[in-house]
Amino acid sequence: MVDSKQETISQQTPTTVVEKKTTAEPKKQPYFYHLDQIPLSQDRARMFLESFAVILRHTNYRPVLDIYARNMAHCARCATTCPVYQATEDPRDIPCYRSQQIVDIYKRYFTLGGWLRAKILGDDPLTNQKVDEIAESLYRCTACRRCSIECPMGLDHGLITHFGRYVLSEAGIAPKGLVVSVREQLEGKTRNTSAVPLPALVDTLQFLEEDFESMKNAKVRFPMDVSGAEYIFFTPVSDYLMEAETLMGIAGVLTAGGVSWTIGTRVYDAINYGLFYNDWVLDRVENEIIGEARRLKAKNILIGECGHASRASKFFIPTFNRGKPIPVVNIIELTYSLLQAGKLDLDPNVVTEKVTYHDPCNLARTGWIIDQPRAILRSFVKDFVEMTPNGRENYCCGGGGGTVSLDEIHKFRMEVGGRTKMEQIRATGAQIVVAPCANCKKQLRELMKYHKLPVEVVGLHDLILRAIRMPNASADQSDGANASESSLVEFSRSQ
């Protein structure tokens, strides 16, 4: 490791960013989290504690840490629920062990008892090496929160992972892959994580409209910047690059259902990596989304097929919204209600393959979206099979917590994080796995390829697209928001 001398915090002196550039990177860890501005500061332990202290002062984490510190029973039941531990059997992957590292630092540095104990019994100060170990430990976790289901005490290790990553990130330690994307989203020109410029988006949507027409012999539109729509649609911007069928399926459903909707032209990315590593980012991204919804006077925020973006908006817009409340709806909920209302006609003879469903952790862990996608699938899929376990107890795809965006840990995701999921899918014998989440889809596709499983990974609306029978041409004129026929053409001209 970097600190061969096991420096203590008091021995370290603050150093500037530039001075760190020459520090040799250790080769031991499979991947690193250090930002380019503050590469591997020699002061990581001090910065970590400073960040810890300031976050405790301004946030709600202190009572959690305090109560956890007094009650952790160390029963290790969580180990049996964690897919990462199941694959590695490495003690540092036990959720309780991971959380204990953070709780120990809290007790030692931020409680009177810990301070007294250090004075009386001697000290084991936080070192840079320990901070590195914590960083690695916290990013080996996929933040799927499966462990929280079986903790008899009710500890939420996902919350501690979230807090620990937040502390690390304010101390300058965060995965580069996430930070670079967020920088473009919040400080870049394109205001989205994949740097998709608006003209490219408009071109893509035009192409999708044409493609849909040739596929289904019916028109759909992707209405842009329509004011006063019932729903403003945000999806991971990567969908516009890679998930054409998901988007066409969604457009088909919304058109068939006569839904009034629009896509904003200033902010069109639902991705919020803040959920994975930083509350400040979480707040800012959600407020970008809220701002766009207000600008277009939309009544509801509609999130596409994405687990983390849906959870970030559903559960944190009420937290960070500084104005009138705006309801958040996931596209699966809306599609389900349209199906229930008899507005969707799905051909039951199109999808004949054996299909299974993967629950994205961020949709299913709290019991939010579990039955709706199954009801949709069962309405038109002939051979639907469940994987075990499923629903609230599903296993993570292995790319949760932002790790899917880190290409440098591809092997870890394939052989450790995603191993249990791969075995689950294999056991179903399914030919198609439905995963209504951009992150899950990316991870599962890589997983199927890596383990040579002949399984197609699709989104829920990809399958709906195959089965949907569109109403006649006159009906599709009702696609809401009173969008003008030439909304996309107008944008094309203005670019």
Binding site: E50, N60, P63, I67, H74, A76, E89, P152, E170, W280
Partner: protein, 233 residues
Amino acid sequence: MEELLDFLKGPLLPFVFMIFLLGLVRQVVLSTWALIEASRKAGDTNIPYGRVLRNIATWVFPVAHLHRSLPVFSYASFFFHVGVVMSAIFLREHIDLFGHLGLNWPSIPRPYVDWLALLALIGLTVLLGYRIYVRQSRAVSSFADYAILVLLILTVGMGYLAGQSWNVIPYNVTMVFHIAAGSAILVLIPFTKLAHCLLYPFVRLSSEIGWHFTRDAGYDVVKTLYGPEGRKI
């Protein structure tokens, strides 16, 4: 030995109960206050108390969960908890300790308490075995985890032995160990993980409230750490 027993049962016991009670009250007050503060600071104050309470109730009698992960450990833990709580609270001799305060409540007849104590002992032995022999359990165990188990085994084991006619250890000796270890447990409750005997509901509540972040806290953190100019992403 008799003097020691008299000391443990006499002047020490009220002192032990005082630390136990005051310590727990302090814990409950601090935790309640901290959670009230946190729920006030939350940006979204719509906290699903009903769901949390249902969860708490489910896990007080977690019969539906026991077989789901580490079943042997889980059943042992459940039977230990039932045995130790019931035998501690409903043994006639324990109730009589509070007689001079005018307190009294129904007791469970001795033979049944003996079975409960045996249940607790078996549970404790399995728990200790798990800590020692099962890798994942050993990995997360600290010295305190073992020490508490040993103290509990001493307390329950000696208490059980004291009531048996076949006990070959002198009665006073078993009682000294029983009361000394029991007193240690009572004193340790407010300062160790044993506090969960009363704080348990606060853990689930804090897990829920913890996700209810504070509005603007992210900005405040950045300003405090990096100055009014803030920082770039």
